[in-house]
Symmetry: C2
Subunit: 388 residues, 2 copies
């Protein structure tokens, strides 16, 4: 409970809690921004990973720009924060259109997503009744991982026509779901080219019918970091890149020292006969995500660092119950001596899932000196947007 300065440090709040290192987050944001600047395409960050206005501000230091959201709750919270160009990138449930209309009437350009004639008809009807066009993107599937119509699906033009006739057609959107399984740079370049090709081909099919297509949107964190040519694309979406995580490091999209999100936990017990150190951070703090389970290196529930962020080699969070974590040493490594009360940080498999277990972030800056403090200073506490 002691503080060596006016600022709190990571030794002060009760554990577990989530930490964002803004030095790394800023570096990650600049890296992708400058990459896409070179490719001449604008970035529309996905705020679903951090769900935090201050993190979004760090992704767009020039002030609110175009963003992507995964829920209407995010759209509403970011609209409150001054964002006026928002894409809701989950297929629209027509029941949610009243909230979409309310945002449009506030002056927010909220684009919705769809991939069926039924949704297109519902949007056209609702827009007509409301007297308010609802800008819509047609989801195009490039690799069979989730929703979308394929480029050669006959319904693509029919959906486009319904939206065009209603004054609601904005463009097309593609997400390369396969890229999360692309373990080589070459595979990710191919996934990025495939994603772009599908988006551009779909846009051209619609334009050939005489429809205006203003948005050709692609993106995923792996393809955004791999694309070499985005000709014909108007924007790239990515979200995870601001925090990165062990899944992205396992793919080779980032390095371990790029990971900007971690969870501070405390040692609460030892079971030397099992080779275990017990902590107070279980799946409630880390999530149940085991995204590295099928990668070449399974990272359990996460890798472990000291409270300053230095990796403890060979130590892995191997088990989790609701409020207990189990740390074990990998083969060839000794279990370190970590007395009860020791604070550690766990780097997560999947930043989106781990962040979602928390209501906010304690913010540190590894680019600033510690000034003799026993642990990194807490520079701010940032809230997350929750719910739907």
């Amino acid at each position: 409970m002691t503080t060596s300065a006016a600022l709190l440090t990571l030794n002060d709040p009760d554990t577990p809690f989530a930490v964002v290192d803004v030095h790394r987050a800023r570096r990650n944001a600049r890296r992708l921004e400058s990459r896409l600047d070179r490719l001449g395409v604008r970035l529309r960050p996905h705020v679903k990973t951090a769900k935090s206005l201050p993190v979004a501000a760090l992704m767009q230091p020039g002030g609110p720009g175009p963003i992507t959201v995964s829920t209407l709750a995010e759209a509403e919270a970011f609209a409150d924060g001054g964002y006026t160009d928002i894409t809701y990138a989950v297929g629209i449930d027509p029941h949610k259109l009243p909230r979409v209309l309310a945002l449009l009437r506030r002056g927010v350009t909220l684009r919705v997503l769809l991939d069926s004639p039924e949704q297109a008809a519902a949007i056209a009807r609702t827009a007509h009744e409301a007297g308010t066009p609802i800008p819509a993107l047609i989801e195009v599937d490039c690799d069979g991982h989730r929703g979308g119509v394929t480029v050669d699906d006959p319904s693509l033009v029919g959906i486009g026509r319904t939206l065009h006739d209603a004054g609601c057609l904005s463009g097309v959107l593609v997400h390369a779901g396969e890229s999360y399984f692309a373990t080589t740079p070459s595979d990710r370049r191919k996934a990025a080219a495939n994603e772009r090709d599908a988006a551009v081909a779909a846009a051209e099919r619609l334009r050939a019918e005489g429809f205006h297509v203003d948005t050709v949107s692609v993106g995923s964190t792996p393809t955004a970091h791999a694309a070499e040519d985005l000709t014909g694309v108007t924007e790239v979406r990515a979200g995870n890149y601001v925090f990165f995580d062990l899944v992205m490091a396992g793919l080779g999209v980032c390095r371990l020292d790029d990971l900007a999100l971690s969870v501070v936990v405390t040692v609460i017990g030892h079971r030397p006969e099992h080779g275990w150190i017990l902590t107070d951070g279980g799946w409630m703090a880390m999530s149940r995500d085991r995204g590295t389970a099928d990668q070449a290196q399974d990272q359990g529930y996460g890798l472990v660092t000291d409270v300053r962020g230095n990796l403890l080699p060979g130590l892995v969070m191997s088990g989790a119950s609701q409020e207990h974590g189990i740390l074990s040493a990998r083969d060839g490594h000794a279990l370190p001596d970590l007395p009860i009360g020791t604070r550690l940080r766990v780097l997560p498999n999947h930043a989106c899932a781990t962040a979602a277990q928390h209501r906010g972030y304690h913010v540190v800056d590894s680019g600033e000196p510690d000034a003799g403090r026993s642990a990194p200073a807490v520079r701010a506490v940032w809230e997350r947007v929750g719910g739907w």
Copy 2:
């Protein structure tokens, strides 16, 4: 958006959202309560599953009684709600003792848990300095699944002595972690007997030293439903039983029609070429918990019912991304015709994990008639306690 009566129904709120069926929850609560009445042992419900004062009230219709919590945030919220007998059943981090003392000074009997001489010394020192005894339970391990000292560990008596001398020894606590993998009634009876034997033996070892032991606490949902003789035990802890889930149904501890928690989702797309129905409920709504993956019947991310709760045979939530669910038909079953906009309910693998993804519950009562409504009426919205 239409309502056929003054009450909202499950067709009204935007999806996804969590639903509690109080008819089933009450029946589940009564079942365990009357079982333990017959065994002559009092129940100390674990509130970590629901984290909700109204759900706890349903577990203890007579008013606030003894409860178990998994976080100090729960302890504080339930103390605010009038609960004065609380066991915090996660090994204590000494850094958290100021909050423990604050609760004790409010008149709450808050028992903490520990399994090491270091924690016992910290508690004795803090209690001495504060002039306030801190009642403590020694965690005893009966099956090697998490923390605890074994009954024959020489440190058991030393820990007991430190606590006894400081006026802080309350008793012992055991949790049969193996019971979550006990797939036959006979195995669960054995796990329950083993849990009781360890608790009673540990208490007797401490009493043989002349220490007063008032609490001999055992429990898990599977063993609470299997124990046949709890002689020497003073209380049973269980939490999941109020909701149950597919893991418990897979073990045979409950039936599918006992499951009181579900998540309402909406169909947002179809990929007939993959055999998929897409919904707006992904892992953010269900959690990443795949607790049935290692059971005889893997249930994916959950089983699917219509909005009234009738099981759709052979339909399973087979995939999840953040805000998308994928439903598939099992072998031998046809994919049902579920148009866009159809509302469904998904029964979760693990109620504790799924409930934690939500900030509250919409409450329905399957014991009350629908009165011609298009879907079950929403009788209340109950909040959850969050954070740590």
